[in-house]
């Protein structure tokens, strides 16, 4: 370090607040914290507050937390009724279980379809990789909503699939796909496939080929190489992909609403109904809070497992 820099640094340290300013790390870490606090934690606290309130026909459509009950005494009123309802009314339980089931099955299917695609791209000649990745990303150029609408045209009774199959004489009656769970799965897997392929590709492309060579040299056949080397080493990608699908699908509203028809019962759609149709903000908020907690649990468990793995390694 030159003398000039040194004295500049010393001067900076003497200025008020310099101890904080000079430590750029605080800023780097502080910015995302600030962002998350402003746009995630605070809104969530509002939602939490509303969920502990009671619905009324007013503006805003819920009772304040602290209010005058009688003779001017201010009282804090906390209402757990919304949460009680969620656990008592089978409608919400069913919707929740339905959402978990749909999210789990579509995550699994998306992984099964996406893994070979990511693998193929990662194994393709270098010149092919970027164009192939562009093809995966290309649908994002069109609005998500429009693409889901397009599936209605493809899946409906006189839509693309049915018309083609009928004109080929393969079927006499149109297949009932639209407004069935199948349509929901098709819509979800179609929409979320890029979120599976991209993290998997990122993991697979980093996989060292010499590991497979070493395995082959030690007598390991190709299929076994995949099971013992490639698959375990792509686990971080699989987990990232699974979370990128499972979490948003749990709260998915547009796809079940457009493709699943009126009978599709998913928690995201229920939230919409409570919020906009029934104007029951507190109940909708309670649903949102429960959903968040349910989604955080597997994430925390996974983090805990990861950390324990690492500590075990170091202790030995």
């Amino acid at each position: 370090m030159s003398g000039g820099q040194m004295s500049a640094l010393k001067l900076a340290q003497r200025l008020p607040g310099a101890a904080f300013l000079s430590n750029g790390r605080h800023w780097i870490i502080g910015l995302p914290w600030l962002w998350l606090t402003l746009f995630f934690l605070l809104p969530f606290l509002f939602v939490l507050k509303i969920s502990l309130s009671e619905a009324v026909l007013a503006q805003p459509p819920y009772l304040p937390f602290i209010r005058e009950i009688e003779d001017g005494a201010m009282t804090l009123v906390v209402n757990f009724g919304n949460y009680m309802l969620l656990f008592e009314d089978p409608l919400y339980r069913t919707a929740l279980l339905n959402s978990v089931e749909i999210a789990a099955i579509s995550t699994l299917l998306a992984l099964i379809i996406g893994y070979p695609m990511a693998y193929a791209i990662a194994r393709a000649p270098q010149a092919w990789r970027l164009p192939l990745l562009m093809l995966i990303i290309l649908p994002f150029w069109t609005s998500f909503l429009i693409r889901v609408y397009a599936w209605i045209g493809i899946l409906k009774n006189n839509g693309l699939i049915n018309n083609t199959l009928m004109s080929l004489g393969l079927i006499d009656q149109p297949l009932e796909i639209l407004y069935t769970p199948t349509a929901i799965y098709i819509g979800i897997i179609y929409s979320y496939l890029p979120f599976v392929i991209l993290p998997l590709y990122a993991t697979l492309i980093r996989l060292d080929d010499s590991l497979l060579e070493a395995a082959a040299d030690l007598g390991c056949r190709p299929w076994k190489q995949f099971l013992t080397i490639t698959l375990p080493l792509s686990m971080p990608g699989i987990i990232a992909a699974a979370m990128l699908v499972f979490i948003p699908v749990m709260g998915e509203f547009v796809i079940p609403d457009l493709l699943g028809g009126p009978n599709a019962l998913m928690i995201g759609k229920l939230m919409w109904t409570e919020f906009f149709n029934n104007k029951d903000w507190p109940l909708a908020s309670a649903l949102a809070a429960v959903l968040l907690v349910l989604l955080i649990i597997p994430f925390v468990l996974w983090r805990h497992y990861e950390q324990r793995q690492e500590q075990q390694g170091e202790a030995r």
Binding site: D208, S210, L211, E213, A214, A215, A216, D217, L218, G219, C220, R221, K224, T228, I229, P232, L233, G313, E314, R316
Partner: protein, 373 residues
């Protein structure tokens, strides 16, 4: 001359590795160009050359990672040219070590044994044996990322030896270690090889490493084999300018043959403005252009006014003090420079040779060689 296609102690042995006219092309680049080699059981055989000379490609063809464009490869008499790596009776230690990062040291070593479905008890015993062999027992439960470079190298060695292969290929086995550790490990590798009686085939770019460890060295250049010989013969009797200059340092003096009697050849050289006498048993033609090669350590300083062949006079122009030896560069009247080395026997010589000193140098006729190529 003895048959250098076989090591001295393997006169009657059958080769364990037979490479027959193997060529490998990538596009229109000849990575390996018509190479034939026999390697015998128990040899510590080195493929030596600078990067891009085809040594690694040749090794990868032995391992089965690449298929020769032409030619055949036999291991233990069996044609393995078209066998995939997992069916070949040899193992390789890769340059990157390629340890499985998600497995412990133990599991890495046991991997090959699991693949051949060795019973667990026997497998555990073998893993213990391997851990002891390379002295890493206490790291058995660690993952590769928790090891140092030297420890990783040992795990890689243990893993590749675990199946008790008859042939072990090693791609730059010491390349990633620092100098001190590399020197220690060289001898350990040789010890392990001798103890287990396995044939080692090593790829290296480091001539010192090859000289220290090998029973024979194949010097490669541009996909071809330049010379195959024991380290000592390769050093003392290089067959080409390339071989002479690749291993150690050497003075090359150009001239032409003027006389040949019995096993002595006289070479007239303008570079030294005089006659050189060299022992050389192969017949040569008069007036043929040849190069006389003399290693710097074979040159002696003699009192001035000494006469006779192989004697040159010049002025010291550069001195490199290396501690154990000093290298002197002497300029001859013709402008030709000759290097010689002197051991620094005294700590501080009373009258050391210094810059611009005039010196007379000489060497024995049997301490130099003739290069025709």
């Amino acid at each position: 001359m003895t048959d250098v296609s076989k090591p001295a102690n393997a006169e009657h042995a059958q080769p364990i590795v037979r490479i027959e006219q193997v060529t490998k092309t990538f596009g229109n680049v000849y990575a390996v160009d018509d190479v034939s080699l026999n390697i015998y059981p128990g040899e510590f055989f080195s493929l030596l050359g600078s990067s891009g000379c085809g040594k690694s490609t040749l090794l990868r063809m032995l391992a089965g990672f690449e298929t020769p464009t032409h030619g055949r490869i036999y291991l233990d008499g069996q044609d393995v040219t078209d066998l995939p790596p997992y069916e070949r009776p040899l193992n390789i230690m890769l340059q990157s070590y390629a340890l499985f990062p998600h497995m412990t040291v133990e599991d890495n070593i046991a991997f090959g044994l699991k693949m051949e479905k060795m019973p667990k008890a026997e497998r555990d015993e073998r893993v213990r044996e391997m851990l002891a062999l390379v002295q890493i027992e206490k790291f058995a439960k660690r993952k590769p990322h928790q090891l140092s470079g030297g420890q990783r190298q040992r795990v890689a060695l243990a893993r590749s030896l675990a199946k008790h292969p008859k042939i072990l290929l090693l791609d730059e086995p010491l390349g990633a270690l620092d100098k001190k550790l590399r020197e220690q490990t060289q001898f350990e590798l040789v010890n392990i090889q001798e103890r287990l009686g396995i044939t080692f085939i090593v790829v290296t770019h480091d001539q010192e490493e090859a000289m220290t460890m090998s029973s024979r060295i194949a010097l490669m250049r541009d996909g071809r084999i330049e010379q195959v010989d024991a380290p000592r013969r390769l050093y003392e009797y290089p067959e080409s300018r390339f071989a002479a200059e690749f291993i150690g340092s050497i003075n090359l003096i150009d001239g032409h043959v003027v006389k040949q009697e019995d096993d002595q050849v006289w070479v007239q050289s303008e570079q030294i403005d005089g006659l050189l006498q060299v022992r050389h048993s192969q017949p040569l033609v008069n007036d043929m252009a040849v190069t006389v090669a003399v290693r710097p350590e074979k040159i002696q300083v003699v009192p001035a006014l000494s006469q006779g062949s192989n004697t040159v006079q010049g002025v010291i122009k550069e001195i490199a003090y290396l501690g154990d030896v000093s290298i002197y560069h002497v300029e001859l009247p013709s402008g030709k420079r000759v290097m010689f080395t002197q051991s620094n026997i005294q700590a501080l010589a009373e009258q050391p040779m210094t810059w611009n000193d005039s010196v007379t140098l000489t060497w024995q006729p049997n301490a130099c060689g003739i290069l025709v190529k």
